[in-house]
């Protein structure tokens, strides 16, 4: 685990994670949120953008008796990951604000995802 000094230095580095698959179809969503949390724990600045079917992850709002990447998404938000999702993709799937986890920014690829990528040191896409 990084020291406080290392974390402060790591904060200057930006990782953007793009998730394009919904939960339970594969473990892409699990890997995306776990990677985001791990990077955040080391102090890095982390963006997580849910795109295409990836927006379904934001729909997992409630507790479950089994693996729940939605819970880890909420942790991401609480831990300071910048979480956002594509507005057009959300509209297409009838995911309105009341349907999604609190704290996810519903926004455009044109504005937010391009800005996230442009300011990143690394980009990784989870689409398996």
């Amino acid at each position: 685990m990084a020291t406080r000094e290392q974390k402060e230095k790591n904060a200057e580095k930006v990782l953007t994670i793009i998730l394009t698959r919904g939960p339970y179809l594969s473990d892409a969503a699990d890997h995306a949120v776990n990677t985001a949390l791990a990077a955040r724990k080391e102090g890095y600045t982390v963006n997580l953008f849910m795109y295409l079917d990836g927006v379904w992850l934001s729909h997992l709002k409630y507790d479950k008796d089994f693996n729940n990447p939605g819970e880890w998404l909420s942790w991401c938000i609480r831990k300071g990951v910048n979480v956002a999702q594509c507005d057009s993709c959300s509209d297409a799937r009838d995911l309105a604000n009341g349907d999604i986890v609190e704290g996810s920014n519903v926004t455009a690829v044109y504005t937010t995802l391009t800005r996230m990528i442009a300011g990143s040191d690394r980009v990784i896409t989870f689409n398996g």
């Binding site: 394009t20 690829v109 800005r115 990528i117 442009a118 300011g119 980009v123 896409t125």
Partner: protein
């Protein structure tokens, strides 16, 4: 205009099928090219089907991806297809859109090094 880095977008899934990755890749490509920096879209594997000049998905109720790809070019971006992947699918230069470049596999791999960032679809 953001002072963005050069972005390589790799597309390896086919068009108009189970996933809408091709559409998502092209929307990101045109958005990034217009706001942030230079984009190269690399079509490899089944992604080369995006290059087909004869695609006409309107009959099945879908918007043609060509209308999403053209703006990328118009704004200065680039779309390339891996030659070996075209050949493997029985496709040649005559089958694809004239503004899509064909690169051999080794040169396509070089794009991964030349660009600052990569997003895969």
């Amino acid at each position: 205009m953001l002072d963005g880095k050069d972005l390589l977008i790799c597309l390896s899934r086919g068009t108009y099928g189970r996933f809408d990755d091709a559409r998502g890749a092209l929307i990101l490509a045109s958005s990034y090219q217009s706001r942030a920096g230079n984009v190269t879209v690399l079509l490899r594997g089944d992604g080369v089907y995006m290059a087909l000049g004869s695609q006409e998905p309107n009959d099945i109720g879908l918007e043609s991806l060509i209308s999403l790809a053209e703006p990328v070019l118009e704004m200065g971006g680039r779309i390339v297809a891996v030659g070996e992947d075209l050949t493997a699918r029985g496709l040649s230069k005559d089958d694809i859109l004239e503004w899509i470049d064909i690169l051999p596999e080794d040169e396509a791999a070089g794009l991964l090094v030349e660009n600052d960032l990569t997003a895969t679809f």
